[in-house]
C-alpha cells in the first residue's frame, strides 16, 4: 500500500509546491509531515483563543505569481492583501514613516532631509535595476559554471549577457552592490541616520551579519525582489495568516491526487544500490518510492536523514560547512487593544506596516555585536507588525495580534543550549524595548508566545532556527546554493532531490525552489514539464 511514485519530506510551502507539480504530471505523490499540522514555517495557529498567529513567517511578497496562478491558489482560498505604512520610532520621540504614496513618502523623508527625500528616487532606480537582474532567474535552475553541458553553457552565456548589457560602469556597480555592506551602500544615497536604519533592516533580517558586513546589500535585494500584483517590492498579508498559503497549496496538491500524511517523522531515506527507494519513519513505518524529495534544509537532509555511507565524502563535508545560522527569534502577542507609539495616533495608517525602533545603524551594529558574543541583542532590531489592522480574521474585533520578529538571537547562548531563563531574558529585552516607546503596550498584553532559535528548530525543524534555511551570502547563492556542484536540485544519490529554501533561489515564502526542483525531477523522468516558466521582465 505504501508505494508511491514520489515522496516529499516536509509539508512546508516548498514541499507542497513540489508535490503539487509532480502530482500534476500524473505521479502518485505523498508529502510526509512530522507535525500533526502542515505548513512548516508557513502556518497560522490559534495559540490564544480567538487569536491566530502567523507564528513563523508573517508577510508575503516573494511567493511567485506564476505559481499562485498556475496552481490556482486563489480558487483554493488564498487571498493576499497588500498592506501599507510602516515606521521607525526614534529615541527623541519622533518617527520616520514609510508612506506608500510617493508624494507623501517624499514629504515624510523631506521632513528629515530634503536631500535624502530627493536621493530616494535615485536609490529606487538603482535598486530596481538590481531586482530586474535577479528576478528572471527565480523560476530557473541555476547553471553550473564549471560544467561543459550545452544547457549550462547556454544559460551561463545568457546570464553573462544580461550583465554585460549593463555596460562597464553599471556592471562594476552591480558587482559592488552584490559585495557591499548595506550600511556602506545606503551611505552612498542618504545622510540621515534614521532613514538609513529604517532601510538597513531588510539587509539583516534572518541573517547572521551586521549592517556593516559586506554582502548584506544583497540581503536587502532579497527582500525587494518580490511583488504583490506586479508591484515590485510590495509586501502583503495572506488573509487568515500565512497558513492560508500552505492550505491553498495543499488543496491544489490534493486536487491533483496528492496525499498528505501528518505525524510522519522521517528517520532515514532508504537507498538501495545507490538509488533512493523510499523512507523509513521513526515509528518503523516504511514508504516506498523511486523518487524522494527532501524539503528539509541541507544540513538535516544530508546529516540527519541520509545514511552517511550512502553519500560521497565531499558532500558530507559540504553539508557540515553549510552556513545555516540562527540569528533571529520571534514574539507573537495577543493584544487587548492598539498600543500607542511615540504619541502617534493609533489610527494612523503607518501603524498597518512594519514598525521598528532602531533609529541608527550604530544601534543595529551593536545588536549584532551581542550576537557575535553569543547572546541575544539587548537593544534588538525588531520587525514588528500588527496584521489585525489589515486582516480582520486574525483577532476579535477591536483586539489585535502583533508579530514581532527579533534580530538577533544566537543559536546557542554563550556556547550552551538555550534555557527557559534565557528565553525569559530574551522576551524581556524585546518587551522592554517596545515599552520604551509605548506606555500602554505592556498593559495590553493578553498572551505572548516567545520563540528563540531553540523553539523554532524544535517545532519547525529549521536548523538553528535559520529562517532562510541557509545564509543568503554569495557563497551560498545561485550556483553555490546549497553547495557548488549540487545547485540543480539533485543530490548525489540517484532519485533523491532537494526542494527546500536551502536551494536556489533561497528563503522566504517564495515556492520557487519547490517548483524548480519539480521541473528537474520531471526532466529526469522524461515526463512533460508541468512547471510554468517565469513571467518575462519588462
Amino acid at each position: 500500500m505504501n508505494q508511491y511514485d514520489a515522496i516529499v519530506i516536509g509539508a512546508g510551502h516548498n514541499g507542497l509546491t513540489n508535490g503539487a507539480y509532480l502530482a500534476k504530471a500524473g505521479l502518485k505523490v505523498a508529502v510526509l509531515e512530522r507535525n500533526p499540522y502542515i505548513g512548516g514555517a508557513t502556518v497560522s495557529r490559534e495559540l490564544h483563543k480567538g487569536w491566530w498567529y502567523s507564528n513563523c513567517s508573517y508577510v508575503s511578497s516573494l511567493l511567485r505569481p506564476e505559481i499562485t496562478r498556475d496552481l490556482e491558489l486563489p480558487r483554493h482560498g488564498l487571498q493576499v492583501v497588500s498592506f501599507g505604512g510602516g515606521a521607525t520610532f526614534m529615541r527623541n520621540g519622533d518617527h520616520f514613516g514609510n508612506y506608500s504614496d510617493h508624494d507623501r513618502h517624499y514629504r515624510e523623508m523631506a521632513r528629515h532631509s530634503k536631500r535624502d527625500a530627493n536621493a530616494y528616487d535615485r536609490y529606487a532606480a538603482d535598486t530596481s535595476l538590481q531586482t530586474k537582474l535577479i528576478r528572471p532567474y527565480l523560476m530557473r535552475t541555476p547553471p553550473d559554471p564549471t560544467s561543459m553541458k550545452p544547457r549550462d553553457l547556454r544559460d551561463l552565456l545568457e546570464f553573462a549577457r544580461s550583465f554585460m548589457d549593463l555596460g562597464e560602469e553599471k556592471l562594476l556597480d552591480t558587482i559592488k552592490f552584490w559585495t557591499a555592506s548595506v550600511g556602506d551602500y545606503l551611505h552612498e544615497y542618504f545622510e540621515t541616520d534614521v532613514i538609513k536604519a529604517h532601510m538597513a533592516g531588510s539587509g539583516i533580517i534572518g541573517t547572521a551579519l551586521g549592517v556593516y558586513s559586506p554582502g548584506t546589500a544583497y540581503v536587502l535585494l532579497h527582500h525587494y525582489m518580490g511583488d504583490v500584483d506586479g508591484n515590485v517590492g510590495a509586501w502583503g498579508f495572506a488573509r487568515g495568516g500565512m497558513g492560508a498559503i500552505a492550505d491553498a497549496l495543499s488543496k491544489a496538491f490534493q486536487s491533483y491526487g496528492g496525499e498528505i500524511i501528518c505525524d510522519a517523522n522521517v528517520d532515514e531515506i532508504i537507498v538501495k544500490n545507490g538509488q533512493a527507494a523510499g523512507v523509513a519513519l521513526k515509528d518503523g513505518t516504511e514508504y516506498k518510492a523511486p523518487i524522494v524529495v527532501s524539503n528539509l534544509d541541507p544540513k538535516r537532509t544530508f546529516l540527519d536523514i541520509t545514511n552517511p555511507s550512502d553519500l560521497p565524502k565531499d558532500v558530507l563535508k559540504k553539508a557540515r560547512n553549510f552556513k545555516i545560522r540562527g540569528s533571529s527569534g520571534k514574539l507573537n502577542i495577543a493584544l487587548d487593544g492598539l498600543p500607542v507609539f511615540n504619541g502617534l495616533d493609533p489610527r494612523n495608517r503607518l501603524m498597518a506596516g512594519d514598525l521598528h525602533f532602531s533609529d541608527s545603524l550604530e544601534r543595529q551594529e551593536r545588536a549584532y555585536d551581542d550576537w557575535k558574543a553569543g547572546t541575544w541583542s539587548k537593544d534588538p532590531y525588531l520587525d514588528m507588525m500588527i496584521p489585525s489592522l489589515t486582516d480582520p480574521t486574525m483577532a476579535p474585533p477591536g483586539k489585535h495580534m502583533m508579530s514581532v520578529f527579533v534580530q538577533y538571537a544566537p543559536p546557542k547562548v554563550e556556547g550552551r543550549e538555550w534555557t527557559d531563563e534565557d528565553k525569559d531574558g530574551f522576551e524581556k529585552s524585546v518587551i522592554d524595548q517596545i515599552s520604551n516607546y509605548s506606555p500602554n503596550f505592556r498593559d495590553l498584553i493578553l498572551h505572548c508566545e516567545t520563540r528563540t532559535p531553540r523553539e523554532i528548530e524544535a517545532e519547525v525543524g529549521l536548523t538553528e532556527g535559520n529562517i532562510f534555511m541557509g545564509e543568503l551570502t554569495f557563497d551560498q547563492l545561485l550556483f553555490n546554493r546549497p553547495f557548488p556542484g549540487y545547485a540543480q536540485y539533485r543530490s548525489p544519490i540517484k532519485g533523491m532531490y532537494m526542494c527546500s529554501s536551502g536551494t536556489h533561489p533561497g528563503g522566504g515564502v517564495m515556492a520557487a525552489p519547490g517548483a524548480n526542483a519539480a521541473r528537474e525531477i520531471l526532466a529526469d523522468l522524461k515526463r512533460p514539464n508541468t512547471v510554468p516558466g517565469g513571467y518575462a521582465d519588462d
Binding site: Y106, R115, A117, N118, A119, D121, A124, A125, L129, L344
Partner: protein, 394 residues
C-alpha cells in the same frame, strides 16, 4: 497627535484659495505633490487665452534653488552644459544639465540675480545632485521652492495687464530679462520667460502676497480678457511652441532603471546648449565622444498629415519601426498636426519622410491610421511678439 484625515492629502500652493474658486470644472491633478488644476473651465478656451489675450498659470510647484557664494558661477559652469558667464545680471538662461555619461538629468532656467547669485528653476527636484555638485566649491544651495510663489502670465495682452499692476516700463524688458518691482510692500520679480512661445512673463513673489497678486492681476486684467489656465492647456501650448518636458520627452537620467533609456542633449536636439569651449562640465568627455562616434537617436519634430494627433504612435520608415512619439497635438493656432519623436539613427534628418502609425478610437471603435509625416526643422508656430522689444500692447 497628527490629524490623520489630512495626513496624505496633496499640498496646496499659496494661490490655492483663488485657484479653487475659479476651477469650475473641479478637475485636479498632482504636480510635484501639489494639488493643481488640470483645467479651469474649458481646455480649448484656456489655450486661446494664451494665444489671444492673457492666460495665468500657477507655477509655484516648480523647484527653485538659490546658488550663492564666491564659487557660484564656477559651480554652475561645471553643472550645466552652456556658458554661464554669458548670462548677465538680471538675465535668464535656458539650460540643461547632464550626468557624467552625458545623459540629460533635467532642463530648467538659470536666473542671474547678482554677481555670484543665481536661482535655478527646474521641473525635477535636484537637491541631491546639486549637493553632490557642491564638493570642491564654496557655494551655498538653498531650496527656495516653498519660499517663492510664481505665476506665468502669458499672452498678447500680458504686458499691458502687468503694467497696469504697477510694472512700470515692462514693455522695455527684453526676452529673458528680469525686472524688479515692489508689490504690497514686498519684492516682486518679473522675468520675460515662459513655456508657451508667446509674449509672456513669469511673476515671482513671496507666498504672503500670492493671494493679493492673483486678485489684483485678475482685477486689472479683466478688461484684457485674462483667464486662468490649467495643465492641459499649457501642455498644448508648449508642444505647439516646441518645448520639451522631462518625464514626457525624456527620462531624467538618474531615475532611469532600464539600460539605454536615457538621452543625451544631441539626441534631444539640444546640442546648441552644449558649449565645448568650456574646459569642464558634467558629461563633457562623454559628449565629445558621442560627437565623434555618433548618437543613437535623433529628436525629430514631425509635421503629420491629417488631423489625428499621433499620440504614442510608432514611427515607421517603410516597414521598419524606427522610433516612437513622445508628445503630439493638433495645434489650434498653427493649424498643424505636430509630433515629437525619438528616431533611431540614421533616420529622422530634416526633410526625412516617415509614417506615423496612429491608433484612435471613436465610439469604442479603434482605427489604425498610417499617416505620412515629414521631419521639420523648427516649430511651425512662431509668435513674433515673443521676441519684440518694446513688447507690443496686445
Amino acid at each position: 497627535m497628527s490629524d490623520i484625515s489630512r495626513d496624505t492629502m496633496l499640498l496646496t500652493t499659496p494661490f490655492h484659495s483663488r485657484v479653487e474658486a475659479m476651477c469650475d470644472l473641479n478637475d485636479w491633478g498632482n504636480w510635484m505633490g501639489y494639488t493643481t488644476p488640470n483645467a479651469y473651465f474649458d481646455v480649448e478656451l484656456e489655450y486661446f487665452a494664451v494665444r489671444s489675450t492673457t492666460g495665468v498659470f500657477d507655477l509655484s510647484p516648480m523647484n527653485k534653488y538659490r546658488v550663492t557664494g564666491p564659487d557660484a558661477q564656477r559651480y554652475l559652469d561645471r553643472l550645466i552644459t552652456r556658458d554661464v558667464s554669458k548670462i548677465g545680471i538680471d538675465r535668464v538662461g535656458y539650460a540643461i544639465w547632464c550626468d557624467d555619461n552625458g545623459q540629460i538629468m533635467d532642463d530648467g532656467t538659470i536666473f542671474r540675480l547678482g554677481e555670484q547669485d543665481y536661482r535655478i528653476c527646474s521641473y525635477q527636484r535636484a537637491d541631491d545632485w546639486l549637493a553632490w555638485n557642491k564638493l570642491g566649491f564654496d557655494v551655498t544651495i538653498d531650496n527656495e521652492s516653498e519660499a517663492v510663489a510664481g505665476l506665468a502670465v502669458q499672452g498678447p495682452t500680458s504686458c499691458t495687464v502687468l503694467t497696469l499692476l504697477g510694472c512700470t516700463d515692462l514693455n522695455q524688458l527684453k526676452p529673458f530679462g528680469i525686472a524688479h518691482y515692489t508689490f504690497e510692500g514686498q519684492p516682486m520679480m518679473v522675468s520675460r520667460t515662459g513655456f508657451t512661445g508667446d509674449l509672456g512673463y513669469e511673476v515671482w513673489v513671496p507666498p504672503e502676497t500670492a493671494e493679493a497678486l492673483w486678485d489684483q492681476l485678475f482685477d486689472r486684467g479683466h478688461d484684457y480678457l485674462i483667464k486662468p489656465i490649467g495643465s492641459y492647456a499649457l501642455e498644448l501650448a508648449r508642444i505647439e511652441a516646441g518645448f520639451l518636458q522631462a518625464n514626457v520627452d525624456f527620462m531624467p537620467a538618474e531615475e532611469v532603471v532600464r539600460v539605454g533609456r536615457t538621452r543625451s542633449p544631441f539626441e534631444l536636439g539640444l546640442g546648441w546648449l552644449v558649449d565645448f569651449s568650456k574646459p569642464l562640465f558634467n558629461g563633457r568627455a562623454a559628449l565629445l565622444k558621442e560627437q565623434a562616434n555618433g548618437s543613437r537617436y535623433r529628436f525629430a519634430m514631425l509635421d503629420v498629415e491629417g488631423n489625428k494627433p499621433a499620440e504614442h504612435s510608432f514611427i515607421l520608415k517603410g516597414d521598419k519601426q524606427v522610433g516612437t512619439v513622445t508628445s503630439a497635438a493638433w495645434c489650434p493656432t498653427a493649424k498643424a498636426n505636430i509630433a515629437y519623436a525619438q528616431i533611431e539613427m540614421p533616420h529622422g534628418a530634416v526633410g526625412d519622410e516617415l509614417v506615423a502609425e496612429i491608433y484612435y478610437q471613436r465610439e469604442l471603435h479603434w482605427t489604425r491610421l498610417l499617416a505620412p509625416c515629414k521631419v521639420i526643422d523648427a516649430p511651425i508656430f512662431k509668435s513674433p511678439k515673443r521676441w519684440q522689444t518694446p513688447a507690443p500692447p496686445h
